[in-house]
């Protein structure tokens, strides 16, 4: 079932006359940069989920918050749809434009307003890149902990909207755990402060509610993040296993030993081979699974933890345990993991990255299930897994130029996510729902739960003007998806155009 906005099942959208709106914007916001010609709009037709594209009606690139304020007031008055976008690196189509909407690009708000080492916080504009915050804090021995793999490019406003994660979440938390305060503009253009400069704020915890709300409740205009002292030392162990089950047991054993690693990653054989072929990280290509375990903190503790973990790995049946001898080797071990996606990309013209989470104990069963589905759909799947926090990234290999393969990849991906839900997990750990997983939301939540989500939306944006159609499916969509799902198990309407 197509995931592009479909008014028939996703709800009717208000119509605006593009020329009239453009004229009004130019008159009321004379300094605002507006793109309206097809060739200028084209680069904005998708975000990081590039298989899906929709041309926005207009793109605006404000440079002052007052412009955003005035824009929102105008759009509210005229009932114009607004889709906010940061750096456009999101993997779930959360910033996928609407044909009848304005794409509000916040990327030009890229100033770091304050780095306060005594208070251990940084106050930044929403377009500031994730990594730039840590770089600005580095002279003080501080850093911003959440590190999504796109951290070179992704912006903090988008991180808030998606509640972005990364490889260090088990120990250091998600974006929501590392925020103090967010300035918001409501759909009506009112300024709201969520959270505070203190550790909490009066009233409901709207900062938590807005984190991961995918630009549907308000527009982020400023973010105050917590900074942490950089760990004194980080060591990484690389363990090889001849079965995924053993690697899974080792993960449980590490936790049971009272150790919370800074990072704990697992890769299966296909991913190991792809990474080794690409990066030459020194991975054991015969292993069925490897674990990368990073231990960070104060020097004396890191050494003790390394010994504890080594014992656990050996007891769990690791065929080999290697500790990176120096920073260069540590970087190399990580390079293999961090380049796993592009490495897998070399095996196949296209790949589709999933983002389900599961209780870790379910890992062996879920991997078996994925292998069976992979055989059933005739598509290879490489598995990369944030083992510490149960976040899986199965990568489905396909060739979009072969008729039907994208559809098969999507259908296989959907099945994998439903498998995650069935064992008590979630369809998305860190990439967000966006449009990509809009149908799988119907598997994770029942109609009453979805209705409550719509009620939350109605409290902040009753006119459905902010990023409509993302994150929460309509009951109509679920009814249709559920109905066809049971009967076919594969996407119907193959004649429908797909992008």
């Amino acid at each position: 079932m197509n995931i592009l906005y479909d008014e028939r099942v996703d709800g009717a959208l208000p119509r605006v006359d593009k020329a009239a709106l453009l004229a009004e914007l130019r008159e009321q916001l004379p300094g605002l940069d507006i793109l309206h010609r097809e060739e200028d709009l084209k680069p904005y037709e998708c975000d990081g989920l590039s298989a899906y594209r929709t041309m926005p009606m207009l793109v605006v690139l404000p440079e002052r918050i007052e412009q955003v304020e005035a824009l929102l007031r105008l759009c509210h008055r005229r009932r114009v749809l607004v889709v906010a976008r940061g750096a456009g690196t999101g993997l779930s189509g959360g910033a996928l434009p609407l044909e009848q909407g304005i794409l509000l690009v916040m990327a030009r708000f890229d100033n770091i307003l304050e780095v306060n080492p005594e208070g251990r916080f940084a106050r930044v504009q929403p377009g500031v890149r994730n990594l730039a915050i840590s770089q600005a804090a580095a002279p003080f021995g501080l850093y911003y902990a959440p590190d999504p793999s796109s951290q070179i490019a992704c912006s903090i406003g988008g991180n808030v909207a998606e509640n972005a994660g990364g490889v260090h979440c088990l120990k250091y938390g998600l974006t929501v755990h590392n925020l103090l305060k967010v300035e918001i503009l409501s759909v009506e253009g009112e300024r709201l402060t969520l959270g505070s400069d203190a550790l909490d704020s009066p009233g409901f915890d709207l900062l938590a509610l807005f984190s991961g709300s995918e630009g549907m409740l308000g527009i982020v205009t400023e973010v105050t993040v917590k900074l942490l002292p950089k760990p004194q030392m980080a060591k990484v162990l690389l363990a090889s296993f001849d079965s995924v089950e053993k690697a899974g047991r080792a993960v449980g054993g590490i936790i049971a030993a009272g150790v919370i690693p800074g990072g704990l990653e697992m890769m299966d054989n296909l991913a190991i081979r792809a990474a080794e072929d690409f990066i030459h990280a020194g991975y054991p290509v015969e292993a069925e699974a490897i674990l990368l375990c990073e231990l960070d903190g104060v020097e004396a503790d890191v050494h003790d933890d390394c010994e504890r973990v080594r014992r656990v790995l050996e007891q769990a049946g690791a065929t080999e345990v290697r500790q990176a001898r120096d920073e260069a080797e540590r970087a190399k071990f990580w390079a293999g993991r961090k380049n796993a996606f592009p490495a897998v990309g070399r095996l196949s013209p296209d790949y589709y990255c999933m983002d389900g989470t599961i209780p870790r104990r379910e890992l062996p069963g879920v991997l078996r299930g994925i292998a069976e589905l992979s055989a059933e759909y005739g598509l290879r799947v490489a598995n990369v897994f944030h083992a510490g926090d149960g976040n899986m990234h199965p990568l489905i290999l396909f060739d979009a130029n072969r008729p039907g393969e994208l559809e098969r990849a999507e259908a296989l991906g959907g099945k994998i996510l439903e498998l995650c839900v069935a064992v008590g997990g979630s369809i998305t750990g860190e990439h967000g729902v966006g449009r990509e997983k809009i149908n799988q939301m119907c598997a994770q939540f029942n109609a009453d739960e979805l209705t409550l989500f719509h009620a939350v939306k109605a409290a902040f944006d009753p006119g459905r003007l902010l990023n409509p159609g993302k994150n929460i499916p309509t009951l109509h969509r679920c009814a249709e998806f559920g109905a066809m799902h049971v009967h076919h198990g594969r996407l119907p309407f193959p004649e429908l155009e797909r992008f």
């Binding site: 300024r191 203190a198 104060v298 004396a300 976040n391 979630s426 989500f453």
Partner: protein, 352 residues
């Protein structure tokens, strides 16, 4: 005698549905240990305590799922048996339940370093104002499907629904712990804390009582020995932190009303109208004072913080009033999730 595990959700749901039909306000109550906090609620009591027991606990998953009426002490005991803990160190202040802990959202001395109650909430079951028993979030560390209603419920004082079950992230107990007392004035203590905060020192609690700085260090034996050497001071009994968390220190016996000031962590010592105790490394300051709410709040607001009154019946708005636009969105959210206004009306603010 109540059994240690019992699913009473059906009767709770029935009571809520009756209240919705008759538009009767409900006063949601667990152990009643935080009854002093917030405004008084007129309504029929909905007692969660029959709905109790640990539903699932797998220590290697670092997740426990508990019914709301479970005594907090019982949960802590079960975790301790597996060498784990609730890192937010929530205060009991009486016969606290797990549901009440989440609804009140109060956290203990470890909060600035490991997080608040809300930071450990992974999932909840909730009876809503539409008379449904629903499930949000889950038992996994990462989950961004849909809006994060579970964390929103932390600190919502039952105003958005009845929490019936909660999944919490738990952590291993630190390998080692040691506590210190260093005689120094508040000014020096806060400036030292700002300095240490930028270094990887394994602090997990920091309190100043006007005369001395009290520190707790937690981590591996190696790092503790190192920090102990560089910090100096005399050894302190770790019971101090329980007394601080449970408000049993002599400071709290002062008969004047208790105020909590939540401030940015680098605020220097403040002249406050009464006696004070600094916790959370400076980010939480307790004040015993007869001064008026407006005066106390003006001081807190001046430095970017807020103040709440922790004494029952002292002032009509124990929580800091919200700016008008924010209050409007609070009312709208309340109206959407609890359209009949039956859940703890007025507990947080007179407006809802």
């Amino acid at each position: 005698m109540s059994p240690s595990s019992f699913d009473a959700s059906a009767e709770l749901l029935e009571q809520v549905n009756r209240a919705i039909a008759q538009r009767t306000p409900l006063r949601i109550q667990g152990g009643g240990s935080k009854a002093f906090l917030g405004r008084p609620v007129e309504g029929e009591v909905l007692d969660t305590r029959r709905h109790r027991g640990i539903v699932g606990y797998d220590p290697t998953e670092l997740v426990v799922t508990v019914r709301a009426g479970t005594p907090l002490a019982e949960l802590e005991q079960a975790l301790a048996e597996q060498g784990q803990l609730l890192a937010c160190e929530a205060p009991h202040l009486g016969a606290a339940t797990v549901g009440g802990m989440v609804a009140a959202g109060l956290s203990g001395p470890r909060r600035p370093w490991t997080g608040a109650v809300r930071d450990f909430v992974l999932g909840t079951r909730l009876i809503t104002g539409h008379g449904k028993h629903l499930h949000f979030g889950g038992e996994v560390m990462k989950n961004v499907a849909g809006y994060d209603l579970s964390r929103l419920l932390a600190g919502s004082f039952g105003c958005l629904g009845v929490i019936t079950e909660v999944s919490l992230k738990v952590l291993p107990r630190p390998h080692a712990s040691t506590s210190l007392r260093l005689a120094m004035n508040a000014e020096r203590a806060l400036s030292k804390l700002a300095e240490w905060g930028q270094q990887p020192i394994p602090l997990s609690a920091a309190c100043h009582d006007g005369e001395a700085l009290y520190l707790r260090l937690e981590g591996g034996e190696g790092s503790l020995a190192e920090a102990r050497r560089s910090l100096g001071g005399e050894t302190l009994d770790s019971g101090f932190w329980d007394d601080l968390r449970e408000r049993r220190l002599a400071f709290f016996a002062d008969p004047r009303p208790l105020w909590r000031l939540s401030l940015p962590n680098a605020v220097p010592p403040l002249a406050l109208p009464g006696s004070q105790l600094i916790d959370w490394g400076g980010a939480q300051r307790w004040l015993k004072s007869e001064a008026g709410a407006e005066a106390i709040r003006a001081i807190a607001a001046e430095v970017g913080g807020h103040a709440s009154c922790h004494g029952a019946g002292v002032c009509d708005s124990p929580f800091q009033p919200l700016p008008a636009p924010l209050m409007r969105y609070h009312r709208q959210l309340k109206a959407q999730l609890d359209p009949q206004g039956i859940f703890n009306p007025g507990r947080m603010y007179a407006d809802f």
